[in-house]
Structure formats: C-alpha cells, structure tokens
Amino acid sequence: MNRRVAWVIFFFVSLVALLAAGLTLNPREVPSPLIGKPAPAFELPRLDAPDKTFSHKEMLGRVWIMNVWASWCPPCLIEHPVITDLAKSGIAPVVGLNYKDKREDALPWLRKNGDPYALSVFDAAGRIAIDYGVYGVPETYVIDQKGIIRYKHIGPVSPEVAEKKLKPLVKELQARG
C-alpha cells in the first residue's frame, strides 16, 4: 500500500479513536479539586432536631460517607435503596446532608422511604454544599479518619459503584488506619 494512504488512514483512525473516547466521557463529571483535601468544616443543625447541631469534627477518627440528598430530587429516590444497603452493611456511617430542602418535606420523605442515615444535617441555604463543590444532588463523598476527602461520586450511586468503588475504598482506608 502507498505510504501516504497508510498515513492518511492512520490519521483518521486515530482521530476517530480520540473522538470515540471523548464521547464515552461524561461531561457532567467534573473532577473535584477537593479530592485529597480536608473536608470543609461545618456545624449545622440536625434535620430531626433543629436545636441540636452536628459538626464534621464528630466524625474524625472514622471513615465515613457523606451523602447529599433532598426530598425534591428524583435521582435521590432512585439511589435511595443503594444508600440504604450501603448503610445497612455497616461498613461505615452514612451522614446525610439535606440540601436546600424544607423540614416539612424532608422528614416525611425519610419516613416514607426509610432513613438509612446515622443522621442528617440540614443545609437549608446550601451554603455548606457550596463548600463541598456540590452542583447537582445527589452527590456522595468518602472521607477518611483524618477528615480528608478521598472520593466523590456525582449523581445517583448505582449498585455497581457501591460494590466496586465505595466499599473497597472504605475497606482500604480502614485497613490503612
């Protein structure tokens, strides 16, 4: 075969491969600059008890999962069974960050769909969520014993993500101590 034709074919095949790879990427998944950084501090009222607050400091020394959810968010309902299974497995405490919600909506939502959370904090203004770089609910974070964010999942957690990413990572972090 003519060398030039070979080059042209090579060029187009590489171009197609590059574009095909680009198509499989999800533009919604923006890499978070917070991975490997300390989880932003917060002290927020509890969803179930407005007069009590909860701070990120109370989770220091433990690997934990933070799940950002809202009663107005349909994908949150979709992932809810997965989050429930994850919490029930007892692998790590799951703390809910109730995002821009109303208590009168959020509490019945938990009663109806089950409450897998160790507790939920109430971020009515979404101010803490901004610190965590949340731009779409649901989002899920894995935070280690030292309070460092190790993983962030954007969008509903699928059973595959829970089994293949979250659980192994939590175990690995726990083993590391």
Partner: protein, 137 residues
C-alpha cells in the same frame, strides 16, 4: 430585556441602588464563571438555583471587601478550573492552549513541503505562446 429580567429575578437590586458599582462587579465576575448545572452558560446567564446561590456568594464576598481574584480562588477551590471560562495556563491545560498553534504550524509545514516538491511549470515554446494568446482572445 436583560435588565428587566434582572429586576424580576433579583428585586434586591432595587434596594442596592447605593452600590451600582458592586452590581457591576458581580455581573462581571458572574460572566467569568461557568454554571455547572447547565454547563454551557455562565452563572450570569443561568437561572439554575445553584447559579443564583453562587451570584449571591459573589455579591456577599465582594461586599465584604474581597478582591475579584480571591472570589475566583474561592470558586476554583470548590469546583476546579472547569468553572473558569478562561482556564489558566498550566501543565494540565497546556494542550488546550498550545494545541491549536501546534496544529497550525504542522499544517503550514506540510503545505510548504508539498508546494516545494511540486515541479516548476514547464516553459512554453514561442509557438505555444502564440496559440495560448489566441485562445485567450
């Protein structure tokens, strides 16, 4: 139209007339930042709740005396360089900045090579010249 929309969406603007300067700075910065919910809009254009919240953040921070640069740092610390409509020049964005010029140079080089390789046009004989002149008349 835009101004009307702003008034409808942020009646607060009416009350902050004492600082049109601040509103201008907020608008300018909002135009630099990408709305992550609707990724091809700036947070100035978008009415997604997050964009509204982020504009409010910008307003508060500028009001409290932070500089434009500090606000941009606040945003990139949380959402990454992706929020910037003008990404900074660094190792990870080098291809983005230099790529088009590399391609342009490569194209120019290939073109130049091909043009040089092309054999020069053959000289016309006197006879051919006369014929060509006739044909062109």
């Amino acid at each position: 139209m835009g101004r009307l929309l702003v008034l409808l969406l942020f009646p607060g603007v009416l009350f902050s007339q004492e600082s049109p300067d601040l509103e201008k700075r907020v608008a300018q910065l909002s135009n630099e930042l990408r709305c992550l919910v609707c990724q091809n809009q700036t947070i100035a254009d978008s009415n997604a709740p997050l964009a509204v919240d982020l504009r409010e953040q910008i307003r508060e921070q500028l009001k409290s005396g932070r500089s434009e640069r500090e606000v941009l740092e606040f945003m990139t610390a949380r959402y990454g360089d992706f929020v910037l409509y003008r990404p900074p020049l660094k190792a990870t964005t080098l291809a983005l900045w230099v790529g088009p010029f590399v391609l342009l140079l490569a194209g120019a080089w290939i073109l130049l090579r091909r043009v040089r390789k092309r054999p020069a046009a053959p000289e016309l004989s006197e006879e051919e010249r006369v014929r060509a002149a006739k044909l062109l008349e």
